[in-house]
Symmetry: C2
Subunit: 144 residues, 2 copies
Amino acid sequence: MYHANMALEPNTRESVAQMLRAHGITPTHQRIEIALVLFERCWHPSADQILTAVNVRYAETSKATVYNTLKLFLDKGLVRELIVDPNKVFYDSNTSAHHHFYDMSSGEITDIPAEGVRIDGLPPLPAGMVTAGVDIIVRTRPGI
Amino acid sequence: MYHANMALEPNTRESVAQMLRAHGITPTHQRIEIALVLFERCWHPSADQILTAVNVRYAETSKATVYNTLKLFLDKGLVRELIVDPNKVFYDSNTSAHHHFYDMSSGEITDIPAEGVRIDGLPPLPAGMVTAGVDIIVRTRPGI
DNA sequence: AGATCGGATTAGACAGAGTCCAAAATTCAA
DNA sequence: TTGAATTTTGGACTCTGTCTAATCCGATCT
Ligand SMILES: [Mn+2]
Ligand SMILES: [Mn+2]
Ligand SMILES: [Zn+2]
Ligand SMILES: [Zn+2]
């Protein structure tokens, strides 16, 4: 997966710190850990998965900080929320426009690149409204 | 609690009961009330809105029954879930294929008819998977 | 270095949505 | 009418996420 925010930088603490500074975020120890977890690979973790991943080595980050930080990253455009499951929000470190497969049986989320996908025939927006985003979710389940 | 003298058009109650039977659902009083609330107009209520609406005249239906019934209706294909808000599920009594505008500032949900909307260029599904549904959510907010 | 001070972190209380359970109520076929 | 099967129910419980006030930094100044 292409990470718009990572360019070709290695996932070092220093490169992550620079990315945070570039987005106007003071790079604290906890924020760097959370960013490393978010960008280390292509996944769509929940807050709880991030909390677990960040504390694998030492318990050094609290639940409150994970939620605080995810909200901050969201405000600053570093991550986006994925609303596909009734029970929890998933976070997507790929902020470029794209869509998703959602396997309803396993919960697995897979990116669909936006290039090549085209939506035709949408009606005009209600008066005075502006588009904040168009999400396509293809819900799948194991075939016969 | 069942009240024998509820003033409601017998045709409407009876037609709802028949619809439930046609879907293999035993039409109890609570289920009929919930179905009436769901189908009385075009809206996308949450479980809590349904609970409130059903109990406007008398408190005759419990929270547990609303959730039980919504799950039953979902299984039987009478309603569909709408996952657009991180905090609650909305229910859609329109089960034909269609899409939605979601006004992020007011929470208002508006139907987009599927006729005329076309999605091109979706990649093939992961091996062994089958489509359970394709949802387009156009998130909007008040314009400039 | 030591003191300062504002932002960041934290534990744990709290809230809202939804689930579960065992007891009570009801349905409906016999 | 009867009673077994189904449905309903209050309330405890779980889970995700929020809030708050105390504490902890860590960058800057002397
Ligand atoms: Mn939930
Ligand atoms: Mn929530
Ligand atoms: Zn994604
Ligand atoms: Zn709808």
